[in-house]
């Protein structure tokens, strides 16, 4: 469904390519995990898909096709038609990613306003409420009229998800959606994503540097390092049998609850 071929992105202000030669596919209804160290180009890859590259300040090549539509080189008018409607994006920092002066509900409904101007504002209101309910926001009628600063991080992240799914996009890009959250809330959001994937068949690109999380959610995983895709495969395969040394290190570094080598209890 999504096909990234040989993607290169280089920012004018940087020496090194941020993304060099990444090729990826996401199949219908699949959740692909993208992991890698900070600065490895995960976000840039996702932004290229979403049409959010700052085109003036970087060079890019390759191709990105969503169901046969070329996105990377598409003009802004076409992109605008796809953005929000076909591709939804959920960003890492929900607080700064929401317009602080716009009501939550209006932000959730904004995609509809832009892509379906024919829908009356009343209908839009109900659609927004429905989407918020779907994203398991408690008490959506009340939340609709609130402003971002009045909500907790977890609620905001749900609102972001509601906004992203309101127009039933084919593809959802999730850029570290749980990193800023508490473990308990993190778990709830992951459940929610699983449910959406199950019930609506939305494909997802899930970016994280938390391998445990990726393992819980994704069927396939891709590993990036310094702009290069170093490994890709079924999650369990990669887990059990990492090939690339970086992947190996990454997995080794995961704090697990294995027994410590030398417990020194004698001090107690």
């Amino acid at each position: 469904m999504l096909e990234i071929k040989d993607l290169h992105v280089k920012f004018h202000s940087r020496e090194r390519e941020a993304v060099s030669g990444v090729s990826l596919t996401i199949r219908n209804g699949e959740i692909l995990g993208l992991v890698g160290e900070s600065g490895s180009g995960k976000t840039v890859t996702a932004m290229s898909v979403a049409g959010l590259l700052p085109r003036r300040s970087c060079d890019y090549s390759g191709s990105i096709e969503l169901d046969g539509t070329e996105l990377l080189h598409a003009d802004r008018t076409l992109l605008r038609k796809m953005q929000g409607k076909e591709i939804g994006v959920v960003f890492q920092e929900p607080m700064s990613a929401m317009d602080p002066l716009m009501k939550i509900g209006e932000q959730v409904g904004e995609t509809l306003l832009l892509h379906h101007p024919e829908i009356s504002s009343e209908d839009r209101y109900y659609c927004a409420l429905a989407a918020m309910r779907e994203a398991e926001l408690p008490n959506p009628e009340d939340t609709y009229g609130r402003y971002p600063h009045e909500l907790s991080g977890g609620m905001l992240q749900r609102a972001m998800i509601a906004a992203a799914i309101i127009s039933r996009p084919k593809l959802l890009l999730l850029d570290e959606p749980t990193t800023a959250l508490d473990v308990t809330i993190q778990a709830q959001i992951l459940e929610l994503l699983k449910k959406l994937n199950r019930e609506h068949g939305i494909s997802m690109l899930f970016i994280s540097h938390n391998l445990n999380v990726v393992r819980k959610l994704c069927s396939r995983v891709a590993v990036m390092q310094k702009g290069i895709l170093v490994e890709e495969g079924q999650t369990e395969d990669v887990w059990e049998n990492p090939h690339h040394p970086y992947t190996k290190r990454l997995i080794a570094a995961i704090p697990t609850r294995t027994k410590k080598e030398a417990p020194d209890h004698d001090k107690f």
């Binding site: 959010l52 409607k85 994006v89 990613a97 317009d99 602080p100 002066l101 716009m102 832009l114 600063h149």
Partner: protein
């Protein structure tokens, strides 16, 4: 509403402090109103008698008390030098200064806001550097210098207006504003440049915020982002800035009134300080301070209406 009430209370407190400080300052300033009034006719006996008559021998606090009491009963006192009620004296001057200040402020709004938005939108253009430099140049034009050039060019060489002539509003409203326009321009030019700069960088700052990326990801185009999201967000700091501008415009008027011989509050203030005509000075100081504090309070209240985060009771700025 609690917020508004608190702001208004603050305003009153500030006004009381200001009026008292002003009063205190007069007692420190060298020179005595009675001597000033008598001029070359002053003899010690005459001065003493006049001081008695004016109540200048009473303790400072008592004088202040009388003044405050009078203020609230609508009696602003009597000018020492003009021997007429301060209220009617100010009444003749205030409209002109207000008109001048409001006109400059209007000019600033009308010119600077579109220019600022434009300049932000064109921040990537090749000419941006030139625009910024020009903007800095305009910022460097002191109103009294611009004023002199304007009178020379339009008053003397081109005869577009008559320097020093300010027709009464009720008689020639058109001419009144036409003649005020030139001083207003002189006051406005550097402020316009500052406002453009402020708007530009605030908008650019907002443009770089994450929520703009979110908005685009939903399918907004640049214009939509600007008008639906960015401008609203840029508004709160801009309003605070404009409030400050509004406050400073009146100070700019004081100087420019001198350049264009506008018979407004500024000139009355300067003359009254020279004459040690404290009843007049006190009222003008209170009016000016009220204007400044009011502008800031209105700015705060407006920002707070726009930005729900401030409704928690925080301060704009």
């Amino acid at each position: 509403m609690k917020y508004a009430a608190r702001k208004i209370l603050m305003l009153l407190v500030t006004m009381v402090i200001v009026s008292f400080l002003a009063f205190l300052a007069f007692s420190l300033i060298s020179g005595d109103p009675a001597t000033a009034m008598l001029g070359t006719e002053a003899t010690p006996e005459k001065v003493a008698a006049l001081r008695e008559e004016l109540g200048l021998n009473r303790p400072l606090l008592a004088q202040y008390g009388t003044w405050v009491l009078g203020f609230f009963t609508g009696n602003l006192g009597t000018s020492y030098s003009y021997r007429m009620p301060v209220s009617s004296l100010i009444g003749q001057k205030l409209p002109l200064t207000l008109a001048l200040s409001l006109l400059s402020f209007l000019l600033i709004l009308v010119v600077a806001v579109p220019l600022g938005i434009r300049s932000a939108r064109q921040s990537e253009s090749r000419l941006d550097g030139v625009h910024t430099a020009l903007n800095q140049l305009f910022m460097a034009l002191p109103p009294f210098f611009t004023g002199i050039l304007l009178t020379w060019l339009f008053g003397i060489l081109l005869h577009w207006f008559t320097p020093g002539k300010f027709p009464i509003f009720s008689e020639h409203p058109g001419l009144f504003f036409w003649n005020l326009l030139f001083p207003a321009i002189a006051v406005a030019i550097p402020r316009i440049a500052m406002t453009v700069r402020m708007l530009r960088s605030t908008i650019l700052h907002e443009m770089n915020q994450d929520y703009v990326r979110t908005a685009i990801s939903r399918g907004n185009d640049r214009v939509g982002v600007l008008y639906r999201h960015v401008l609203k967000n840029a508004m709160a700091p801009v309003i605070a800035f404009l409030a400050q501008t509004m406050a400073e415009v009146i100070a700019g008027s004081i100087v420019v009134e001198q350049v264009f011989a506008v018979p407004g509050l500024g000139r009355l203030l300067l003359a009254s300080i020279g004459n040690r005509d404290w009843p007049v000075v006190e009222v003008i100081v209170v009016i000016l301070a009220f204007w400044v504090v009011l502008a800031n309070t209105i700015g705060d209240l407006l920002s707070q209406r726009i930005d729900p985060r401030l409704r928690l009771g925080g301060d704009a700025r």
